[in-house]
């Protein structure tokens, strides 16, 4: 697969991943553009083309860290997470609202797992932690999302 084909295949998920890192559409686009600029000349030397997706996600992450000047998502915690107001909406959009309330350190592994399809071991490698810690973060992220969504579900159940 050529670099252009690889870009076409993964650009949408790279953008979405960058969005959950930056929480800003324009910044997400900038991060992906810069990351692709860095990766295109190195691509011919990439020995395992099957690993291109993980490689591109890692470059997007590094580019985000560079652009953020050291704002590492791993530094955040779930402390002080507030349950959002009750608002009847479509469930997918409700989850998106809840994801916005989630610190980037928890939204990021979810994006890597759900959008990227990466295993816990791959995620751990990408975000620089252990497999166990990545699993814990993924579990806590889902628990927090369910907690955030609970009032809405209760309200939907009542009506």
């Amino acid at each position: 697969m050529s670099f252009e084909e690889t870009v076409r295949a993964h650009a949408a998920d790279l953008y979405r991943y960058a969005y959950w890192l930056t929480r800003d559409r324009a910044q997400a686009e900038d991060v992906v553009q810069e990351a692709l600029l860095r990766s295109w000349r190195a691509f011919p030397r990439l020995r395992d083309r099957a690993a291109a997706k993980a490689w591109l996600f890692t470059i997007v992450r590094n580019e985000f860290l560079r652009a953020a000047g050291g704002a590492d998502p791993a530094a955040e915690s779930l402390d002080g997470l507030e349950v959002a107001d009750e608002r009847p909406e479509l469930f997918g959009l409700e989850v998106r609202d809840a994801l916005h309330a989630l610190p980037a350190s928890y939204a990021e592994p979810l994006a890597l797992q759900v959008l990227g399809g990466f295993s816990c071991a791959e995620i751990a490698d990408m975000i620089g932690t252990t497999e166990g810690a990545a699993m814990t973060r993924l579990t806590r992220a889902r628990q927090a999302l369910k907690r955030l969504l609970a009032p809405r579900e209760r309200k939907a159940g009542r009506s």
């Binding site: 670099f3 252009e4 084909e5 870009v7 076409r8 650009a11 949408a12 953008y15 979405r16 969005y19 959950w20 559409r25 686009e29 992906v32 553009q33 810069e34 692709l36 600029l37 860095r38 990766s39 295109w40 000349r41 190195a42 030397r45 590094n62 860290l65 560079r66 652009a67 000047g69 050291g70 590492d72 469930f91 997918g92 959009l93 409700e94 989850v95 998106r96 809840a98 994801l99 979810l110 994006a111 797992q113 759900v114 959008l115 295993s119 816990c120 699993m135 993924l138 579990t139 889902r142 628990q143 999302l145 369910k146």
Partner: protein, 218 residues
């Protein structure tokens, strides 16, 4: 496997293993949990899939094609202008410049994560090589901090210029006899003598690296 293990593994989202499936087939509570989990995962995917700008993938792919054409055209004109001997000279890879690129590729994120140093201390540390005020005239300093480099302490600067981002490595007390260059994995580095030391300029775009080098010298 018990219900607690089943639900714990399900919540981590890694998918259902054969052992988990066997447990679910025999446990009504976990079967119900599994159904609820699947509905949640569908909603989670829908939530994560934020709308992508129209034509984004195609635009990104076309940009790569255009970039390759520009690169090939530039390489061809350099080869014609410089001749074979000149091209060999330009292509020679300097070890310090290569080390600068390796730093950006492997160490930069870690260095940034260690945090910046106070501005006054940074200004004093780089003053004899490249005054901080001169760096700030060229672009916005996003990070400055000490880092081990090439057997000594250098100062790592992430600089935002109008054309994008570049990295500077200010090396006090290590003055190179002349300018050095290297290109590796899509990154370019120029190391030049300045003041009592040397400065490495590293970036993804050769034109921007050269432009920043010129501006810092001016």
């Amino acid at each position: 496997m018990n219900c607690l293990d089943y639900r714990r593994q399900l919540l981590a989202g890694a998918g259902e293993t054969e052992t988990m499936r066997m447990h679910r087939m025999q446990c009504g509570g976990c079967a119900a949990e599994y159904q609820e989990h699947n509905a949640f995962e569908q909603a989670l995917r829908a939530g994560l899939e934020v709308p992508v700008p129209a034509g984004f993938a195609e635009r990104m792919a076309r940009a790569q094609v255009a970039r390759r054409r520009r690169f090939l055209a530039a390489a061809a004109s350099v080869a014609v202008a410089a001749g074979a001997g000149g091209f060999y000279f330009l292509a020679r890879q300097d070890p310090v410049a290569l080390a600068c690129i390796d730093f950006v590729m492997k160490e930069e994120a870690k260095s940034i994560m260690l945090g910046p140093m106070p501005r006054a201390a940074a200004a004093t540390a780089v003053a004899s090589t490249l005054p901080l005020e001169r760096i700030e005239r060229v672009g916005q300093v996003r990070h400055i901090g000490p880092c081990p480099f090439n057997g000594a302490t250098a100062y790592h600067v992430v600089l935002m210029v109008p054309q994008g981002k570049v990295t500077l490595l200010v090396m006090p007390g290590k003055r190179m006899p002349g300018a050095r260059h290297a290109t590796k994995e899509g990154m370019h580095a120029e190391v030049m003598p300045m003041g009592a030391g040397s400065v490495g300029i590293i970036g993804a775009d050769l034109a921007v690296v050269e432009s920043v080098a010129g501006a810092l010298k001016a």
